[in-house]
Amino acid sequence: MSEEKKKKGGFFGAVKEFVYGVAAHDSARFALKSRASMEHLFILITMGDMLGVPILPPYYSLRLLPYVVPHISTWKRRMLKEKDLTDGLA
């Protein structure tokens, strides 16, 4: 019985996910992309010396560092990755 229930929930869950994928997944991705672009621009301004672009005095960078640490690896990867038009097409 519990297996049946699970299966039923699984089917409706799949339908729910499909509808979300059709209707809203794109919106969520673009919202995340916009936020990430702004955040990464901010990190570039404050922590640019990590990529060889010193902009702010280290005092401010040090004060912000604890907040930026969780994003550093993602930020470096996105900033240093080679990109072209085909990256933005979907």
Partner: protein
């Protein structure tokens, strides 16, 4: 033949293709491994690279690839008869369509989520990447022109469409405002905005455009072309959450409900095909080979899908085994959409003459009449059904068109910002894209424009298959299943583009066309020739790369035998 037989035939082909052929390729040649870390897991950044459920990606892929093309292609191609169109839809999807969609996702996934630009640089040559980017710009331009023409012809042929389109736009903008600014509940927002869009469909049926703005404005191509490109302009320059995405969000419900109930209507009415099975090898727009093979684009194979698979989906697949249902499975669903359109075109008119009169006004009218008939089977009044069908057609065309203009803006900045910094300005890039698209819409004969779009689209597909073949050979895997479809599509599309460009330019050279048609023929002919030249260079670079990989494989095999 009965329409239900066609649907069942489609389901059988989809089952065999997905369950046996695709599974064989996936497990025996690609050797998908559920334990291998995908780029979504390896490089998870919560933005582009994000492990996502296959059900969500199934919906995302379907929404991204199902535009107007799988519907319009069969409606036009039935001029050669429904049988050749049916065979191409089924065989094209079975042997080529899903192969391209699935393998594009797989090749990107096995190459750290690289997109086609990076892949062509790595697998073919640095020059290939630059040519591919220029090719993509003109390919996008042809999409804007062809889909713009669909929007314009639909708004003129169906006077209910403009009001429904206006209400949809208002509903979409409101959806963006409610979700992102007022932070309202998503269910409440969806109900309010979809009801507004539905009210527009009803209002359109009782207040047609000619009764509001007069017949001359309602029948003016200029008015609706300007409206379409102003719409796209806003979609390209405004923040994406403000305009483009929420309109697409509301529109997806309209399309989804229409398709769902339309297919139920086909099963209830199960009409027979009334148009002939085969009319002849050559018709007004050209011979069956190569022209029909590019007229039916997305329903059989489409280059657009490979872009979505490689740049979007491949970076979100959490398991390699999900590539088959998401990449391949969705293509078979798209095939069913093309069959739905074929059934509409083949069953709603009593004779070829009636169909001929309808197609002369554009494919939108035929689609709306079909939707009206099949929604009528579940009780919707005919006028309301036509209004619903017209807005579905506009939605399917303009949602892709607005994205294309946005991409062209980005492409202008990418390709020309080194020439002058002025091209970095988003308004300049968008303006250039809109003007070029507008010129195509206002001056080109829509059937030629459609064939050129189809040719560019299929050529993009063959270039995607070229990349896949290069990757398979570089990995020492069997490549025939991608190589031969690539060769077939390459030859067919080059022939189609050359044939169409020749027909367009010969009229210019001989002085047979004047005024607007002269501009349209010249522009379309030159764009077609440019695409052919770019594709030939890419093809030649690709062949050199394939030879290189083959000689490496031979050397390695010889070394292994020696050892």
């Amino acid at each position: 033949m009965n329409s239900v037989v066609v649907l069942i035939l489609g389901l059988v082909v989809a089952f065999i293709g997905y369950r046996f052929y695709a599974k064989h390729i996936d497990s025996k040649i690609i050797k998908s491994d559920p334990k291998r870390a995908t780029p979504a897991k390896m490089y998870m950044d919560g933005v582009e690279f994000m492990p996502t459920s296959k059900n969500i990606l199934f919906g995302y892929q379907f929404k991204s690839i199902a535009g107007a093309a799988p519907i319009i292609g069969p409606i036009i191609a039935i001029q050669w008869g429904w049988l050749p169109a049916l065979i191409w839809i089924l065989a094209g999807t079975f042997f080529i369509g899903w192969v391209q969609d699935y393998s594009s996702a797989m090749v990107a996934m096995r190459n750290d989520g690289a997109s086609f630009g990076g892949l062509s640089h790595k697998l073919i040559s640095p020059r290939a990447r630059i040519i591919l980017l220029a090719f993509i710009y003109f390919y996008l331009l042809l999409i804007a022109g062809a889909f713009g023409n669909v929007v314009v012809s639909t708004t003129i042929a169906l006077k209910a469409a403009p009001m429904a389109w206006l209400f949809l736009t208002v509903g979409g903008i409101l959806a963006g405002q409610m979700i992102y600014r007022w932070r309202k509940d998503i269910i409440l927002t969806t109900i309010v905005t979809v009801v507004i869009a539905m009210a527009g469909i009803w209002f359109g049926s009782i207040a047609p455009s000619d009764s509001i703005i007069g017949a001359s404005l309602a029948n003016s191509r200029w008015v609706w072309a300007i409206a379409a490109f102003v719409f796209c302009y806003f979609a390209a320059v405004l923040p994406i959450w403000r305009f483009a995405l929420p309109i697409n969000y509301v529109a997806s419900y309209i399309v989804f409900l229409g398709l769902f109930f339309g297919i139920i209507g086909i099963f209830i009415l199960h009409p027979d095909f009334t148009l002939p099975a085969y009319t002849g090898f050559s018709i007004a727009i050209g011979p069956i080979w190569p022209i029909m093979f590019v007229t039916i684009a997305c329903g059989a194979i489409s280059g657009w899908h490979s872009i979505v698979s490689s740049s979007g989906t491949a970076r979100q697949l959490e398991n390699e085994l999900d590539a088959r249902p998401v990449g391949g499975g969705v293509m078979f669903i798209e095939m069913m959409l093309a069959l739905f359109a074929l059934i509409i075109a083949g069953t709603i008119y009593a004779s070829s003459a009636e169909y001929g009169a309808a197609i002369a006004k554009g494919p939108g009218g035929i689609f709306a009449a079909g939707v009206s008939k099949f929604l009528g089977a579940i009780g919707m009044p005919a006028a309301l059904g036509r209004s619903y069908g017209s807005v579905m057609m506009i939605v399917l065309a303009i949602t892709i068109m607005q994205l294309v203009i946005r991409f062209m803006r980005v492409a202008t900045s990418e390709l020309l910002s080194d020439v002058s910094p002025v091209f970095r300005n988003p308004h300049i890039g968008t303006f250039i894209a809109c003007v070029l698209g507008m010129v195509l819409v206002m001056t080109g004969w829509w059937q030629y424009l459609w064939v050129l779009f189809g040719g560019a689209n299929q050529l993009m597909a063959s270039l995607a298959l070229l990349l896949v073949t290069a990757w398979l050979m570089s990995e020492g895997k069997s490549a025939a299943w991608a190589f031969w479809p690539m060769i077939f599509m390459f030859i067919t599309t080059i022939a189609a583009l050359l044939y169409t460009s020749y027909n367009l330019l010969i009229k210019v050279i001989s002085g047979a066309v004047k005024g607007e048609a002269l501009i349209g023929n010249t522009l379309m002919g030159l764009v077609g020739l440019f695409l052919v030249v770019a594709a030939l260079i890419l093809g030649s670079e690709g062949m050199k790369a394939l030879k290189r990989y083959r000689s490496i494989t031979k050397t390695q095999a010889a070394a292994a035998a020696k050892a």
